[in-house]
Symmetry: C2
């Protein structure tokens, strides 16, 4: 079943992606709908929009009807008049588009940011919050019910770094997960720095901070830092138990 090709490059690029959606009344508004509405806004007419997008008028018209049945009035068409008429967006539509764009931005944040994954075992639990034992120590994470063996993923943009002197007392902050470590790698990007922190596990914990923060904290290889992250921001997923 496996053709020979595909085997040759086991490290092929596998990229995360997504399709953002807004659901209402059984109808799903997706990226294609968003560009349709944006094009209508730019061209001022449904006809011009379908031409530019290479879509058929009839189908597009149907689609807008379906969307309006679920999301409420989205366009204000006018026929006749100078220029023959046209269609404009309602205020609600602009709000909808803005919301969709925010959603898409959050999702693309997820795909763009590095994350570190630790394997662990649930040792304690309070509802959806579990304490997980990992190679780096115990940490809290949101965990699906009835799972023991888990992978914990920590997004780099949720990890904040502190100078050792200014490390917060655990009682005074809502960031319950704190790990002292030493900076292992510093990867400077355009305006942001990705920092790998050795916190005792095999895999370093990577944190994404601004260049300003990196400078103020003196983040160079070998520096001592404290890394903290919230348990409500870290999530665990079930892990396959070793077979035998």
């Amino acid at each position: 079943m496996a053709p020979e090709r595909g085997t040759e490059d086991p490290s092929a690029e596998i990229d995360p992606a997504f399709e953002a959606e807004l659901h209402a009344d059984g109808v799903t508004f997706d990226g294609e709908d968003a560009t349709l509405l944006r094009t209508i806004d730019e061209t001022g007419s449904l006809n011009a929009a379908t031409d530019r997008l290479g879509r058929s008028y009839s189908r597009t018209h149907e689609r807008i009807d379906a969307l309006e049945a679920a999301f409420g009035p989205l366009v204000e068409p006018e026929r006749g008049g100078s220029g023959g008429g046209g269609t404009e967006l309602t205020a609600r539509t602009r709000t909808l588009l803005a919301r969709f764009e925010r959603l898409r931005t959050e999702f693309s944040g997820v795909t763009a940011v590095e994350e570190t994954v630790y394997e662990g075992v649930v040792v304690d639990r309070d509802g959806e919050i579990a304490t997980v034992q990992t190679a780096a120590g115990e940490l809290g994470a949101i965990t699906p019910p009835e799972t023991e063996a888990v992978q914990v993923t920590i997004r780099a943009d949720t990890v904040t770094l502190h100078s050792q002197a200014e490390a917060p007392t655990s009682a005074g902050t809502s960031a319950r997960n704190q790990f002292a470590g030493t900076v292992e790698t510093v990867d400077e990007r355009e305006s942001v720095v990705s920092v790998g922190v050795d916190i005792g596990a095999e895999q370093p914990l990577t944190a994404l901070v601004t260049q300003g923060s990196a400078a103020e904290l003196g983040l160079t290889a070998g520096a001592s830092v404290v890394a903290s992250f919230k348990t409500t921001a870290t999530r665990a997923t079930p892990r396959q138990q070793p077979e035998a």
Copy 2:
């Protein structure tokens, strides 16, 4: 174009959703593929899996071929033998499924968590990092290029709260955005608490913390707290400039 229905309920539920995807070599692996592979794993045969899922064998077989061409060997089929044969997953497939599940979990975190949105204007910029002037004051956020008028969205699970006494000095932490405020609302959930903090803007900043943190910090209405969040975790999206 707008049928009368739809107008009647302007506050209809609009729910965010997503389709998680993994892309390789032009082929996209989606949730349907994941359940297919999981079902093969559970039933031990492609035939049984297609029966359970109500899909045609031929189509399913084609799909697996296409996936393997892009993602590498995913299944190990055997034909003949006792029971007629069967197909099992490769180790790579389990890794792939685990990765997909982590991705899906992160996305569902985005849709599940509350967020607060502030409108603002970019007043300074360093690459993708911008300083945005909002009703709550200045804050840093990742911002798309060439945008001035923005909406800034702050996920509740990225906001950490500190007791006023233990508020970190801005030089000692990589959480550059800090706002002192007073607790306005406290919404206790199963094992987590959603806290609305008045930081001077019209809309309160909502933070999601564990019940343990809420208790230790003494989070009740009227309490003084400091809310902080990282600029690499907050994102801005373009905002429609007022028309005229």
